[in-house]
Amino acid sequence: MQTQSVNKVRRGLHVVGSLWFAAVVLVLLLVAMACATVYESMHGAEQALLTFYQSSWFEALLFLLAANVLTAVVVRYPFSKRQIGFVMTHASILVILGGALVTKHFGIEGQVSILEGETLKEFHVSAETLALTNRANSTTSTVDLNPKVFGRLTVAERPQDASVALGDVRVRVEKYLPDSVPSERIVNDNPQPRAAVELSLASSDHEDKTWVLEGETAQFGPVAVALRTVATVEELKQLLEPSSEKAASSVGTVKIDVAGATVERPVEECMDKAVPIGGTGYSIRVLRYFNHATVGPNNEITNASDRPVNPAIQAEIIGPSGTEKRTAFARFPDFASMHKGTATSNLNLIFVASGAQVDTEPSTPIEVLFGPADQLRLRFTAADGIVTTQEARLGEPVETPWPGRRLTIAQRFDHARMEHAVTLADPIRETRMPAVLLKIEAGGESSEMWLGKSQPRRLTIDRIPYELLYAEKQVPLGFSIALTKFTVGTYPGGNRPRSFESQVTITDPANGRTQGRIISMNHPTSYGGYTLYQSSYQLTGERATSVLSVARDPGQPIVFAGYFGLLAGMIVVLGVRVNDQRRLQGGDDSAHGAGRGNGRQTISLLNPGARCRQQPPNDPDPPGRKEPRPATWIRPGVGVGREVSR
């Protein structure tokens, strides 16, 4: 019973350590990596890393490889002398994979971008963090963000539970956007009442939509839209019948500026009678009022219509040195200066048309009248000044004075608020701007806030100033580095760069000692456990920014040792094969009696598959059972030897 289960395990190990399994895993890795490069050409290196090389399934594949190699070695124990090469080769592969594991867990790789003259104490790595700083006492709470989420091209909701907390302020990531664009939207949750409507202007071929808030104007292309709340029926009545009452009372006021004094009189008061203007010695007599003043070819002014499109008055100024006729236009107060006379040039005549009438000026061609109660009205002012008002209902299109265009009030909010939000950029741009939605909890209250990457936001909670920062993770170097000078060496007679060189000063805080180092391409420098490499540079104006790679990798020597072992092992295997070959060429007889399994070994040079494989003594599958093969692949020694010696 027990031996049976042992046999089962042994059989299982033989499958895992089999050449068949090795071939499968090798080909799967091959295909995965080939596809990864295609993916990289589509989506870039960063995404290929996250989606392929650093994914858990790829790691599982590497684990299968390690399992295969390890089992292949283990099941062949104890090893014969001939198998030294095989064992070295395969053990070295395990060493390389182990070294890679050490690199993954204990190695660190990042960059410093350092401006000439600048001193830095930290470098940044590709991981991201969220930091909350209390600016009053400079305490900071930082949390590492999961690199498998932050950095990917997909949106994540509640990506992790980790949060930053200082005192009773706690900040948590609610949502992650790989690329964001700021946007505005209207929401109906304002504690204060504020009206807003969403309008849609449709023609036969397209539709425009816009929100308009109370007290603000919106634009439908070139057409302005305004919203006015109407509190009472009286107010509404006044709006709907603008001219009847007001025109009767007054068309406006005459305003005279003279010698520093201003005198105002209703137009009607001065109509056809001379009214003295204070104590200035001047009098005014209004001769005519125009609703729609038009200047004719001989500079005479006529009334083009009864609509108050261009209100104006014609008046006579009677002064001590004579009488003068002047015209004042309500909408063009400066026009008077063109009519500058001699006798009264120090006097300024202004006509202010009454409010209700100037309102009809076509600056807001569409006006939404909100109220009283739940009523909605639309008032259109066409280019010719004709005003039409219509009742409107939510969702029902209304004909406008512009042919073929219908206006609909799609939505109405009574407690509107403009919310500045952040939305996903679609498609995701090459220069991404990742953003996170944060939930800030403090003293039982919570609020939400969007935060873009590397864009610190300041906020005040309970009168304490805080700063939130979502950025690349900074790691302390343990020393400070200053870029003294950056030089680009060129090839003779040109500006083609030949070398990049950063002259840096490294200061150790432990002993305060300072030393100068030079870092150039292919010539890194090491300090404090880190090695710094010249990576790239940017020239911004006069000063250069040098980009240095910073790395600490305890796995590297392990991997390199693995490389040497691997190569040595492969060479030993080859040497054994060549030796076999020599022996075959030397004499046919020796090939026969060279011990167990030697028949297969001696022809292994001809036989790619038989590489290193020797059946263990307790092989459950005796080597006798074999498929029919081409003669040369199974005929040991003699025949082959003859072929070789030809």
Partner: protein
């Protein structure tokens, strides 16, 4: 630059030449050839500059059978004449149609192209291309013409020959000859005399003027100029053209080696080996000259790596002769070596010694990594050649068992050594990356593809000649894992197109072949498949995927076309031979003679 060209065009006098101008036939340019100039970050002799410029403009160093030095002097001293002579070939008929150039004419003059309105507007449009976008084929052809025009303009203005050294700065810019008095008055007189003698075709005056020019120029103050010996080395290198000579010798060696298989005489084998060694020796000599001239290992671009490819084949073949006294060895080495050199010589690759990227400089690793990886490619290329021979023998002469055995043995030797060298190449590359960038592995596409190719070869070595006697569930497990991987990977490559679907189907088929097929025929077929993975690593990553850090050796899109065409033909050939092989094996009464037990 193109803008200057356009401005100049407005003032260009269009002169109709009464008769075809001729180059002065019997001038002795031996002395002037060695005039030291500053050119492209180096100080080569005039001969090299002339070759570079004439090749760049006309596409051929000895254009119309003339010495490039004569051409360069003619353009420098008689610009008015040569502006109107056809020098620039616009070979592509489609481009000529696009430009509305004459459909029958293929070679155009500088002034003709410069005053061509359509071309000018296209050149102007090149300046509008946003950064980072790749040029489309038409744009790159127009840009090519524009480059030629600006180069010719530099020559016609006398700016191309920078012979006046910088007196103060060793790396400073040298200046071309400028007319008028100055510190270089003596040089000016000699220069004018040279130009005068050239225009008159006065050979005696030309010789004395060139001697005087050399003398006066060498008397000028300079902080640095190369010594006479290195100039002589470069002249020698230009003179003997070692690489195009070497492939001719190798080709003769290959023919001799082929004949040796039929002749079967020891002395004839020796002759074939001599042919192989002579070609290899010439190549080695050429590489050493180039190394001296460039003052770095010639392993920085596609051209130079092809030289190493060829060299590696020769080197490995000479080594292999001692292991296998087989006639196939010199044949494959000479043949493949010649092929690699022919590709280097004939493909549109840049043959000149250029400045290289900073990452390649000042490091021992380039001298280790590139030769190792190129020699591994060489050995695997030899393997692919014998693999083709194996397919042909096994498909058409299945009775010749000893042939296929010999080939199989050689093939396996090549595969095994090639795989070791490929591993060494990847390991050294990884160590170089660690020393330059701080990480030994960064999943760069070139790194990944080199590993892909290695895994392919490792699979060949690990697939046994016959199936293991494993329980059935072992095979089910393999199939399951494969299906799982495909289910993970394939959706990531969306959007799916017909081409991609086809490629994935081919990939799955290739996987099945790699894992399941066994025996000498399959090993040969798989070796050919895997060699295309090598080609993909070697050229495909730069040219097809166009990504990654290793994009320094840029060339033209023609390389990709050649690659796909050759690859398609080759794999079709493999498929055809496989069909023939299977058909024969199936139709012959089983078991085949070769399957008969001992």
């Amino acid at each position: 630059m193109s803008r200057i060209v356009l401005i100049l065009a407005a003032f260009l006098p269009i002169l109709a030449s009464a008769q075809e101008p001729k180059l002065p036939p019997d001038l002795d340019v031996t002395a002037i050839r060695g005039l030291c100039l500053q050119h492209d970050g180096r100080w080569p002799p005039l001969d090299t500059v002339a070759r570079d410029i004439v090749v760049s403009v006309t596409g051929n160093a000895s254009y119309r059978g003339h010495d490039p030095v004569l051409w360069l002097l003619a353009w420098t001293f008689a610009p008015d004449t040569w502006m109107n002579e056809p020098l620039i070939t616009v070979g592509n008929a489609e481009l000529r149609r696009e430009l509305q150039l004459s459909p029958t004419q293929t070679v155009f003059s500088y002034s003709e192209l410069l005053s061509h309105r359509q071309l000018r507007s296209l050149i102007e449009a090149l300046g509008q291309i946003e950064r980072g976008r790749k040029m489309n084929p038409l744009e790159s052809k127009v840009s090519d013409i524009s480059d030629k025009l600006s180069l010719l303009q530099t020559v016609f203005r006398g700016q191309a020959l920078k012979l006046i050294p910088d007196p103060a700065n060793a790396l400073g810019a040298w200046k071309p000859m400028t007319p008028g008095p100055g510190a270089q008055a003596d040089v000016g007189v000699a220069w004018d005399a040279l130009g005068d003698a050239f225009r008159r075709g006065d050979s005696a005056a030309f010789t004395s003027a060139s001697d005087r020019l050399l003398k006066t120029v060498s008397a000028l103050p300079a902080t640095y100029r190369p010594d006479a010996k290195s100039l002589a080395t470069e002249l020698n290198y230009n003179q003997i053209q070692p690489f195009s000579t070497a492939w001719k010798v190798m080709l003769v060696g290959a023919l001799l080696a082929a004949a040796a298989i039929l002749v079967r005489r020891r002395w004839f084998d020796g002759l074939a080996a001599v042919g192989m060694i002579a070609g290899f020796g010439l190549l080695t000599y050429g590489l050493s000259l180039r190394w001296q001239i460039a003052a770095r290992i010639p392993a920085s671009n596609m051209f130079e790596s092809l030289l190493f490819l060829s060299w590696g084949m020769g080197a490995f073949a000479i080594l292999s002769v001692f292991v296998f006294r087989d006639r196939l060895v010199p044949l494959t080495a000479s043949g493949m070596g010649a092929l690699a050199l022919i590709l280097a010589d004939r493909l549109p690759l840049d043959h000149f010694i250029r400045p290289i990227a900073p990452v390649l400089l000042d490091t021992i690793w380039m001298s280790i990594h590139v030769p190792v990886i190129m020699i591994s490619y060489s050995v695997l290329a030899l393997a692919v050649l014998v693999a083709h021979a194996q397919l042909i023998v096994m498909a058409f002469a299945p009775g010749r068992v000893h042939w296929s055995n010999t080939i199989d043995r050689l093939h396996y030797w090549y595969l095994h050594v090639g795989t070791i060298l490929l591993t060494a190449g990847i390991a050294t590359g990884s160590m170089w990356a660690a020393s330059s960038w701080g990480r030994y592995w960064g999943w760069d596409p070139k790194e990944v593809w080199s590993l892909v190719a290695l895994l392919g070869y490792l699979t060949i070595l690990h697939v046994r000649p016959g199936p293991d006697s494993l329980p059935r569930w072992a095979y089910a497990l393999g199939i399951l894992l494969t299906a799982a991987l495909l289910a993970i990977v394939v959706p990531k490559l969306s959007p799916m197109t017909a081409g991609k679907g086809l490629a994935i189907a081919a990939m799955v088929f290739g996987m099945a072949v790699l894992v399941l097929a066994h025996g000498p025929f399959a090993a040969a077929a798989k070796s050919i498949m895997c060699f295309w993975l090598i080609i993909m690593t070697y050229v495909g990553v730069n040219y097809v995927l166009g990504i990654g850090l290793h994009s320094y050796g840029f060339g033209t899109g023609a390389v990709v076309r050649y690659m796909f065409l050759t690859g398609g033909i080759d794999l079709a050939f493999v498929a055809l031979l496989s069909l023939v092989y299977w058909f024969r094996r199936a139709s012959a009464a089983a078991p085949l003679p070769i399957l008969a037990p001992a």
